[in-house]
Amino acid sequence: MISFEPTEEQQMIRDTAAAFARNELRPAARAVDEGETIPDGLIAAASKLGLVRAWLPEEHGGDGLMRSALTGAMLMEELAYGDLALAAHLTAPRLFAFPIIEMGTSAQRSRYLKPFASGNFVAGSSALVEPRYDFDLQTIATTARQERDGWILDGEKCIVPLAGESESILIYARRGEEDGVSGFIVPREAAGVLISEPEKNMGLKGLKTYEVKLAGCRIAADAQLGGDAGINFARIASQMRVAAVAMAAGLARAAFEYARDYAKERRAFGAPIATRQAIAFMLAEMAIEVDAMRLLAWEAAWHLDRGEDAAKESYLAKHYASASALKVTDNAVQVLGGHGYIREHPVEMWLRNARGLAIMEGLAIV
């Protein structure tokens, strides 16, 4: 039966994340965007949230919450409402741990998950995007060749979050022309792995990302995620897209609310500018877009929670959110006018972040 009512557990997670976003992420966002490092206190506070640990099976030292894409979407929206870059940074370890929890062999789970049970922030990452203008998830060009005693990986990845800080990286590659995409757990120190200096991007500056080159990188035979059975890559891709759509909703909501509040304060021609239809209608459309993005994320997530790969749903939702998040953040800058262009207000930062979110894949996972 159709319902839009989150469960009590979902509402609790939502509220907790919202409070964290408001109290920790938002106040730190601008300084980090300007180049300062993320405060230790923020990392410590995030670790208490247990963004990985809560969903880690009890046998691996976690709280063993049942994973749900819907819950994940709600969490990601709230965190991104605080700050998109910090949200992506703090949840990057999920990119490594979650596919291992869901699709790893029991040996892989035992070997790689333990560190994430600790109360400290443990970096983790996955490498998906490749530095080509015509990249998409169906044309991954990084290859994995099976040798007698292992795999040899070749290719280039970019926008890999926390690659320089992670012990191991989950690399998505193709075994052959005919095969689908597989995951490979690659130690950062493996021979043939070359990690660049942190990338310099237009936005998302609070998220350290790297280029990762794989040149004849030799890894062990048991490094393929899920062993011979492999993985359901379509499902992982959808989990990433749903996260992106939910984050777009959160980011857009932040921009909408900021512009709304500003428009009620700012006076022109003797009245708050929000009392003019030209501004009020922009705000109304922004509010509608935020809700539309959230509902599209929820619907795709709901399919995932039923065990489907939700490939079409998540693709459509991402298509929508990419345009919508940009439109809403651009409108927010517009509502503030000249002030929106000045770095004292956060809206220009949100516009830059939205541009990044719209073109990227694999920045987060639900």
Partner: protein, 408 residues
């Protein structure tokens, strides 16, 4: 718990509605678009007797309707789902189906149990009947608080004077069946919104005359009437809601109807939009063009991109509409969400149907196909039950916390 699937019994009912749309509406769709003002009486009779059998084809009879056993807790959701199916068939024919219509919705929302029984009871049997709602006047549309039609008490009666336009099914309700018109009139112009009340005027009441039936861009199977009330008298107990003027409440009672009807109009839009989308998809498939979901910008053709955009816009509109109806079923205040859904769906479907014609080029423009008709039909959803702009205004007021005086 969040869920995006109807119950199995509703899904079964929707299949039945789809069959009606496909086998009874589509075959006569073009005919009653071209023969405007002629009526598909055979279709009416069939729908009316089917309604009698199933007691659920009556949007206006919502009060008693428990179609497919979903009961009151999912009544509005059920209505919008069936509406989408039927307007997929034909929006004009859907609007012309004999039922209590928007007038019935007003009675269901604001009438006493006795009034509901008296006015809606006849819709459960006998000959096909129509109910209608008359709000708009030549001098005011969106600004419904500015209406000039008056109702004056005279002993046990109300005397109504004024002219109403754009009354959907007005002719069928006032003259061609034993139906009724719910008319908005002011008791006291100086009281502003608070003075506006609605009255049930039964068919054939002396002083009520249909003076014109409009020629329209689309939804031509549905009649849109101009009705003059000239010293038209109805009994005192034909007023809906309290006869007292409450300046505090304003016209919240009459406006409350829109919380239920706006999601329905959004669903009507979505039905037409889906018809166009399905048609284009089938057409592309025949040309061996498959939409490559998942492909990136450089591999998609412009046509694929357009289609994807149309598809997800429709989906976003549908989700917003479902939410608005769900809130109403859950007993929550949904004015904001109803207007969001209506504004989004009206615009999205206007654009979707226009783009659909573009994708088919001269074939889309030809009256041999129904696409051009759907574009004409779709547009009304961007206008009636509050234009896109009026709904944006309502959304804006709600999100800003402004009164209608502060943001006009």
């Amino acid at each position: 718990m969040i869920d995006f699937e109807f119950e199995p019994q509703v899904i079964e009912r929707l299949k039945l509605y789809h069959t009606i749309a496909e086998q009874m509406m589509r075959p006569i769709s073009r005919e009653y678009d071209e023969r405007e003002h002629e009526k598909p009486w055979q279709f009416f009779e069939t729908m009316w007797s089917a309604a009698g059998a199933a007691a659920e084809f009556q949007p206006g009879g919502r009060e008693k309707k428990e179609g497919a056993g979903v009961g009151a807790r999912a009544r509005n959701l059920y209505t919008i789902a069936t509406t989408e199916e039927l307007t997929w068939g034909d929006a004009g024919l859907f609007l012309s189906i004999p039922n209590a219509g928007l007038g019935g919705a007003a009675i269901a929302a604001a009438g006493t149990p006795e009034q509901k029984q008296r006015f809606l009871g006849p819709f459960r049997g006998g000959k096909p009947k129509w109910g209608a709602m008359a709000i708009t006047e030549p001098g005011c549309g969106s600004d419904s608080a500015a209406i000039t039609t008056t109702a004056v008490r005279d002993g046990d009666e109300w005397v109504i004077n004024g002219t109403k336009i754009f009354c959907t099914s007005g002719q069928m309700a006032a003259e061609k069946s034993e139906g009724f018109i719910v008319v908005w009139a002011t008791l006291d112009k100086s009281a502003g919104r608070a003075g506006i009340k609605s009255f049930v005027v039964p068919h054939g009441t002396p002083g009520m005359t249909v003076v014109r039936v409009e020629n329209k861009l689309g939804i031509r199977a549905s009649d849109t009437a101009m009705i003059v009330f000239d010293n038209c008298r109805v009994p005192f107990d034909h007023i809906l809601g309290s006869p007292e003027i409450n300046r505090e409440r304003g016209f919240k009672d009459v406006m409350a109807t829109f919380d239920a009807t706006r999601p329905i109009v959004a669903a009507m839009a979505i039905g037409v939009g889906r018809a166009a989308l399905d048609f284009v998809r089938d057409f592309l498939n025949q040309q061996k063009i498959a939409i490559r979901y998942g492909a990136g910008l450089y591999r998609l053709t412009a046509a694929e991109r357009d289609f994807i955009e149309m598809e997800v816009q429709l989906k976003a509109a549908r989700l917003l509409t479902w939410r608005a109806a769900w809130m109403l079923d859950a007993g929550r205040q949904n004015s904001l969400e109803a207007s969001m859904a209506k504004a989004k769906a009206g615009l999205a479907v206007t654009q979707i149907t226009q783009k659909a014609i573009e994708l088919l080029g001269p074939l889309g423009y030809s009256r041999r196909m129904l696409l051009e008709k759907w574009m004409r039909d779709a547009k009304i959803n961007d206008i009636f039950e509050g234009t896109q702009q009026i709904n944006l205004l309502i959304v804006a007021r709600r999100i800003l916390g402004y009164s209608s005086r502060e943001l006009s």
